[in-house]
């Protein structure tokens, strides 16, 4: 279940960067960052991920699209070089490899999925309290950009997900994850679109499934 914790943290980060609305209870840098961020109901874009695994000469590059829909959930589609899709909704987390369901986790049965979803949907509705129970947030802000480092409050969780940092402006731009095993991951976001036309027909269908 540790890997699920890692997943959780990444999702939180995504949401953190995209959907902060209420700043009254948040710490000072967070409130400033929140003011900077846009808060669209639908947001899609491209990501480019680079993974440097321990013991490998070359980094592994992949890219794809992601969508965040308020009230519905998140779609994370790797398109290159191997297509696979991760979909998080209120009831479940589904991992699709092509057409095949590689993994399906039921929120009703798995408390971790429940936790992920509860954090996810409270963030979608603008409630920061849940995130702060899991992470210590440390950051710096200047006129047009910001930088934040997250540290899990629980030791076991911190060990599992490693150190996470992210930066951006109106939208999050980069995420860096350093794991204890030496593996490093960088995700760069670009080509961000909002509004009803942001999702492709294919993505709409994936959500409807």
């Amino acid at each position: 279940m540790m890997s699920m914790m890692r997943l959780l943290s990444i999702i939180c980060i995504l949401l953190l960067s995209l959907f902060w609305t209420d700043s009254s209870n948040a710490a000072a840098p967070i409130s400033k960052i929140q003011n900077m961020l846009a808060k669209p109901p639908v947001l899609c874009g491209r990501f480019d991920q680079t993974k440097q695994l321990q013991g490998m000469k070359k980094p592994l590059a992949s890219n794809g699209r992601f969508c965040v829909v308020n009230g519905k959930g998140i779609l994370w589609r790797t398109l290159q070089p191997f297509p696979n899709t991760l979909r998080l909704t209120r009831d479940e987390i589904v991992h699709l490899q092509g057409e095949r369901v590689a993994m399906r986790l039921d929120a009703q049965k798995e408390p971790t999925v429940r936790m992920i979803n509860s954090v996810l949907f409270s963030l979608l509705s603008g409630d920061l309290g849940k995130l702060e129970t899991l992470f210590e947030v440390d950051g710096s802000v200047d006129a047009a950009s910001w930088k934040v480092a997250l540290k899990a409050r629980e030791a076991a969780l911190a060990k599992a997900i490693g150190a996470i940092s992210l930066d951006g402006g109106a939208y999050v731009k980069n995420i860096h994850i350093d794991e204890a095993s030496g593996d490093r991951t960088t995700i760069i976001f670009s080509d961000i679109k909002t509004g009803e036309t942001a999702m492709t027909a294919e993505e709409l269908a994936l959500f409807a499934q």
């Binding site: 013991g55 991992h95 095993s181």
Partner: protein, 792 residues
């Protein structure tokens, strides 16, 4: 005359000495040795059918389950459930000497993963193993690539090199699926569609069957539940445990003993008072029964070295027959008048009394011919009890009751007069019509009679406990402790190998939804043989040059050295964890009950089944699955106990039928052409009783048949009493029958009110049967004085 008196006095004194010895022996048994009756129903099975390892396996399963109390606290909201659980636990903490909570921690979870990671090369799911044999290298390369590239490609344990093909994480996932229970916020969590539950596993410190434990635990749990409900009113609390059932059973039995027992005691005393205007008769009859019971117990203990509870229960029911001797004597004493002294009276009654005893003893000894030790014990116990009671009447009663010491009440006179108006059966149209109607109704009823040997006849837990148990079973997807496979072998390794052979068969039953899964130690620790096979399989298909790993290397533009390094690393993950080591870890704790260890010369383990479906002949399918596998045995405790009950029912049925024949043969020399008149009322009453049970929609069970056996003993007495004096002007036998039958109805008929199905069946049969015999026995008396009366 004087000589005769001296003779009976001597007899009385001798018997007094015997009774004193009995009392001393009983005092020694109960107070000195503190004997307790045997309660294991399997002790009633024929000896050669019992298997020590099998019995130990069951005891092992039961012992583990016995001391456990499981509480589920559920709410729509997890926070509420946690809050209620905390309140609940606080109350329990006040009695840590009684109940202790099982500790859980998240730390323990990552610890056990580390243990298995070291041997992860030998750990595969059945599906993975299948895929390794059938899927091409490309499939595994794609899988590894997807995992490499994805930011979050599902469960990931350790670094990429530790598990490039997701085999270990698949195995871990499968292990997690063995239970729906998950750690969450320092509690154990489980949920259904509506509610989220905190699971509190508790250990009971004193034995579940100790009365003091039952008396303390139930109120404690009640208090805790009350506090939790007060703190969060919407919370649902489900609790289960053997101790709760035991406490409920004790409470019910206690309640029934006080209502039924008291009711029948008051009834009998009142009846005796109204009949004899004295309590002396009832004291005397209780005396004869008491001596009979103690004597039977003493001799049985000396013969068998132990006694089963069921023997005692059935034996105690003999009171119904044992009282007849005393009542017969007392009724005759009442009507004989002062001119006849007691020893003379006894001499006159002796042939009839002897015959009643002989008939009953021979009937019961028929039970001794069956191969079941339980029935044999019952036979000896019953026969001895009757002999002792009979001897008490013969030796003591003439001394204790003098001529003219009894007076009859008004009730006796009125009751006796009723005999004159009783219809008599004869070769006339009216009798034949009545007979025909009865015969048809009985035939219809009997044809509707099914059989039922369900184990639930023996215990009857309150509905809410059963409902809680069922809900808990569903939520936890827990295996049943009464149906499982027992696996044995000469060494632990062989046991594991045999488990694996069994599991391959069970896997196909999972696909067919006969079971949802199984728990076996080999799921966690595969046999060394299988681990070796898997190492080879993985090396050959994935790691060797030209395999999936080489392909992967070329895809990510790495050289052969990279693949070789990963292969080398993976091949070191072949540590072997010993059984004992595993069972000591926190991961092994929940599975300890599956390992029986070394018993005699062999090792044994249990493969437990989850989500057993009884539909589509599930049990038979499982039984078949175990067939033909070495050292594998299907154990179905429910079925086994039911089959013991069923076989006892059938045997008992034959014994009853044979007893009728034997009794008839015995009666024939004395009653000749009228012998059938003695037996017919009981036979008719038994058949009509069966017919009525059938019409009422009841199914025949062992306890109906046991009651029919007792009914034979009782009914033959009534037949003999009536046939000894067929002249209706003498109402004495009619009085004896009436008193005896009324007592039997009050003592056994009231058992029909019991909520325990077995006792109810017994009581109901006795109630209908005895009442019928009583009512019809005068109809069968002959109109002419028979030959034997002239002889006496």
């Amino acid at each position: 005359m004087k000589k005769q008196h001296g003779w009976t006095k001597g007899l009385a004194i001798t018997w007094t000495i015997v009774v004193c010895l009995l009392l001393a022996h009983n005092a020694y048994l109960w107070l000195g040795k503190r004997i307790a009756p045997d309660t294991d129903i399997l002790a009633l099975l024929p000896v050669q059918e019992r298997d020590p390892v099998l019995q130990q396996s069951f005891a092992h399963m039961v012992d583990t389950a016995q001391q456990r109390v499981v509480v589920l606290i559920g709410a729509n909201d997890w926070e509420q459930a946690k809050q209620a659980a905390a309140t609940y636990q606080k109350v329990l903490a006040s009695r840590s000497d009684l109940l202790t909570a099982t500790n859980i921690s998240d730390q323990a979870q990552s610890d056990w993963l580390a243990v298995f990671q070291k041997q992860s090369l030998g750990l595969l799911t059945a599906q993975q193993e299948q895929q390794l044999r059938t899927e091409p290298a490309q499939y595994w390369t794609d899988l590894a690539l997807a995992k490499m590239y994805s930011a979050f490609s599902g469960p990931k344990l350790g670094s990429f090199q530790d598990d490039p093909f997701n085999l270990f994480s698949g195995w871990v996932q499968e292990r997690a699926q063995e239970t729906p229970v998950r750690p969450r916020d320092g509690y154990l969590f489980v949920a259904d569609k509506e509610k989220q539950y905190v699971l509190l596993p508790l250990n009971l410190k004193p034995s579940a069957f100790s009365l003091t434990a039952q008396e303390a635990v139930v109120p404690l749990l009640g208090k805790a539940a009350e506090a939790a409900l007060l703190a969060t009113p919407s919370v649902e609390i489900i609790s289960a445990g053997v101790v709760l059932h035991a406490a409920a059973a004790g409470q019910q039995a206690g309640g029934e003993v006080s209502t039924i027992g008291l009711g029948s005691l008051i009834g009998i005393i009142l009846l005796m008072w109204l009949s004899f205007r004295s309590l002396k008769p009832i004291t005397l009859i209780l005396l004869s029964i008491g001596v009979g019971f103690l004597g039977a117990l003493s001799v049985c203990w000396m013969l068998f070295g132990g006694i089963h509870l069921l023997t005692l229960v059935f034996g105690a029911s003999l009171i119904g027959v044992a009282q007849d001797y005393g009542i017969y004597f007392l009724c005759n004493r009442l009507s004989a008048g002062a001119s006849v002294d007691s020893p003379t009276l006894l001499k006159r009654l002796l042939p009839g009394l002897s015959l009643t005893l002989l008939a009953a003893v021979i009937g019961y000894l028929g039970l001794g011919l069956t191969p079941f030790p339980g029935l044999r014990h019952m036979a000896v116990f019953s026969a001895l009890g009757l002999v002792f009671a009979w001897l008490t009447v013969i030796c003591w009663f003439p001394q204790l009751i003098r001529a003219g010491s009894l007076k009859s009440g008004k009730l006796v006179a009125r009751y006796s007069a009723a005999l004159m108006h009783w219809p008599r059966l004869g070769l006339n149209p009216r009798s034949l019509v009545v007979l025909a109607i009865f015969a048809i109704a009985t035939a219809i009823g009997c044809s509707r009679l099914g059989a039922n040997d369900d184990i639930r006849l023996l215990q009857n837990s309150p509905k809410h406990l059963v409902a809680d148990q069922i809900k808990l079973g569903k939520l936890l997807d827990a295996p049943t402790p009464v149906q499982y496979f027992l696996v044995r072998g000469g060494s632990a390794e062989i046991v594991l190998q045999r488990e694996e052979a069994l599991k391959r068969k069970l896997d196909s039953l999972i696909e067919r939804h006969t079971i949802s899964g199984y728990q076996a130690l080999s799921n966690w620790i595969p046999s060394a043989q299988l681990q070796k096979q898997r190492h080879q399989l993985i090396d050959e298909k994935l790691l060797a040059e030209g395999g999936a790993l080489s392909l992967l290397a070329s895809k990510v533009e790495e050289d052969a050295a990279w693949a070789a390094a990963i292969r080398k690393h993976l091949l070191t993950l072949t540590a072997s964890t010993s059984f004992d080591e595993f069972l000591k870890t926190s991961a092994g704790e929940p599975w300890r009950h599956l390992w029986l260890g070394k018993i005699g010369n062999e090792y044994a383990s249990i493969v437990a089944l989850r989500g057993l479906s009884y539909a589509n002949n599930g049990l038979a399918t499982l039984q078949q699955a175990g067939q033909g596998l070495d050292g594998v045995q299907w154990v179905d405790k429910v079925n086994e106990i039911s089959s013991v009950l069923g076989r006892y029912r059938v045997y008992m049925g034959w014994v009853v039928s044979a007893a009728y024949l034997v009794v008839f043969v015995l009666l024939f020399p004395r009653y000749r052409r009228n012998a059938w008149r003695v037996l017919a009322p009981t036979l008719c009453a038994s058949l009509v009783t069966l017919g009525l049970l059938g019409l009422a929609g009841q199914s025949l069970q062992l306890f109906h048949v046991l009651a029919l056996m007792l009914l034979l003993g009782v009914g033959v007495d009534y037949g003999i009493f009536m046939q000894e004096h067929p002249d209706r002007r003498n109402a004495t036998p009619w009085l004896a029958v009436g008193l005896s039958a009324a007592n039997t109805l009050l003592s056994f008929g009231l058992l029909g009110l019991s909520r325990t199905p077995a006792l109810q069946a017994f009581g109901l049969t006795m109630l209908i049967g005895t009442a019928l015999v009583w009512l019809i026995v005068p109809c069968f008396t002959s109109t002419t004085e028979s030959a034997h009366v002239a002889q006496t």
